[in-house]
């Protein structure tokens, strides 16, 4: 398929877009897609990824392409063709071949941001105070706090409160 914008290069990507209130699709080459600002949901690298991976693919000996990921059944060939990784386990399975590509995108570096929760949330001192101070009707009070927490989008506190309410209802709550 030929790029619908320049009519010259082969189209490498199909862009979904909204035109005057309707969903439509346009086939573009990487250059035109970037020029027109029709980028993937998360940025413009997704578009180049197929090409980037494709470059690596050509250098690969044939028999290595037979390796399939146990998590999703993908071969490296499929990842390269679509620019998409099949599952989290692919990053292990094809580590050697994905690493140079990841380095080319991000540089030789590793993760420095947040990590998934290690343990169950514990009650923070501040919310513990709020809860402890209310001695009269703990269940009602906590339900009220929960509503407020959800309204304020304080989901951490809400999670703690919800568990306490559940415990109270089940009669497992020990003071």
């Amino acid at each position: 398929m030929i790029c619908q914008h320049c009519g010259k290069n082969p189209a490498t990507t199909h862009i979904k877009r909204i035109v005057n209130g309707e969903l439509s699709e346009i086939a573009l080459c990487g250059d035109c897609a970037r020029k027109l600002g029709y980028n993937g949901f998360f940025g413009d690298w997704g578009l180049q990824l197929g090409n980037l991976l494709g470059g690596f693919l050509e250098e690969e000996p044939e028999q290595q392409q037979e390796l399939r990921c146990k998590g999703c059944g993908c071969t490296f060939d499929e990842i390269a063709r679509t620019g998409r990784v099949g599952c989290a386990q692919c990053y292990q399975t094809f580590r050697q071949r994905l690493s140079p590509m990841i380095q080319r995108i991000h540089g030789n570096t590793s993760h420095r941001g947040k990590s998934p929760l290690k343990a169950q949330l514990t009650l923070r001192p501040q919310s513990a105070m709020q809860v402890v101070q209310e001695e009269s009707s703990p269940l009602e009070e906590k339900q009220k706090l929960l509503r407020e927490a959800v309204e304020k989008q304080n989901f951490e506190l809400a999670a703690v409160l919800r568990d306490e309410i559940k415990a109270l209802k089940e009669g497992k709550h020990h003071e």
């Binding site: 909204i18 949901f41 949330l121 951490e156």
Partner: protein, 345 residues
């Protein structure tokens, strides 16, 4: 009709240039292939797991989020979600096995089974990166309490596209840059920003063809930088861009031709009997320039934010319940909305 104001009905910090802030987080469930490698029945199981965590009987969100299966939506309603920046065109193009979680003020949405299992999005008016991140991160924690996420110590959160590895976070600002666009230096600016790890691109890719001088400025680097570092980098550089735009606006608004264009644009918005999408967005952009520079008085910036979202084609015809609307009727509806909104009714 609703006392709760939507994010696009408000105006926030640095609102003369920054229309809105958006923070998105990509997360995937551990041990489940990414959505494009799931058939409909396995996608359904992912939906059920997340539904249970978020909407189920023990959930703290049940009153907070609406659960919207994409397949249950009319075409118009689905497109309107994109026009309101709540979902991507890709998301609504394959409705089966996908659902959207949406907070009632439309500031928080979660796309389920788009390119990743979970894509959290927080939208806020004006410049509000830290607040938007805080909200997104809290929701991430709350979901993580029930669901375990694919993560690697070195690669961070594991995502379908290797470009999102690490924090899985894209923060972006929707900017109105009429003066930089007019001066013709926007392409050079974009390529300079790209060297700094940011991307500046026309906002047209998501909402429609005519962008009305709207641009998205976002972070590109997700691996090797913490979320806070990426956000403060984005904020610092955006403040420089804001100064440039404001400087250029001042000069631009001194020109009698610009003043004429701005004044006429308001006149046309107020008196036109038909308004096409493209013309409407252009006029709105001109009026926004006039309002933000103090040249036009008596129009609140939030009025313009509201119009630019509610005046989009599918969102306009949504209340009529009709899937198709002849061009002229759509334009008449738009004229009605514009007049009502500008007169403050």
């Amino acid at each position: 009709m609703n006392e709760m104001k939507k994010w696009y009905e408000k105006s926030g910090a640095e609102g003369d240039v920054v229309i809105s802030t958006r923070v998105r987080l990509a997360r995937n469930l551990r041990g489940v292939p990414f959505p494009s490698h799931l058939d409909d029945s396995r996608k359904k199981r992912v939906l059920e797991a997340i539904h249970e965590a978020v909407i189920g009987p023990n959930s703290l969100f049940s009153g907070f989020f609406m659960w919207i299966p994409v397949a249950s939506l009319s075409r118009t309603a689905a497109v309107s979600l994109v026009e309101r920046h709540l979902a991507s065109p890709e998301f609504i193009s394959h409705p089966e096995g996908r659902a959207l979680l949406l907070s009632r003020d439309e500031s928080i949405s979660v796309m389920i089974n788009e390119e990743d299992h979970i894509r959290i999005q927080v939208l806020q008016e004006g410049l509000s990166l830290k607040q938007a991140w805080k909200t997104a991160s809290r929701l991430d924690d709350a979901l993580n309490e029930r669901l375990s996420f694919a993560f690697d110590e070195h690669l961070g959160y594991l995502t379908q596209y290797p470009t999102d590895l690490g924090t899985g976070m894209r923060a972006s600002l929707m900017l109105h840059l009429p003066a930089l666009e007019e001066s013709g230096i926007i392409n050079r600016t974009a390529s300079n920003l790209s060297k700094l790890g940011l991307s500046l691109r026309s906002a047209s890719g998501e909402g429609g063809e005519e962008n009305g001088c709207l641009y998205q400025l976002s972070n590109r680097v997700t691996l090797g930088l913490s979320e806070e570092e990426a956000l403060s980098n984005l904020e610092t550089i955006s403040m420089q861009l804001l100064r440039q735009e404001r400087g250029a606006r001042e000069k631009l608004m001194q020109r009698i031709e610009t003043q004429d264009t701005v004044a006429r644009s308001l006149g046309i918005l107020q008196t036109a009997r038909l308004l096409g999408t493209r013309e409407f967005m252009k006029l709105l952009s001109n009026v926004r320039l006039g309002v933000s520079s103090g040249f036009l008085k008596g129009i609140a910036p939030e009025t313009l934010n509201r119009l630019s979202v509610l005046g989009q084609p599918a969102t306009l015809r949504l209340p009529s319940g009709q899937e198709e609307l002849p061009g002229m009727e759509q334009e008449l509806l738009r004229v009605g909305l514009v007049r009502k909104t500008l007169s403050g009714a």
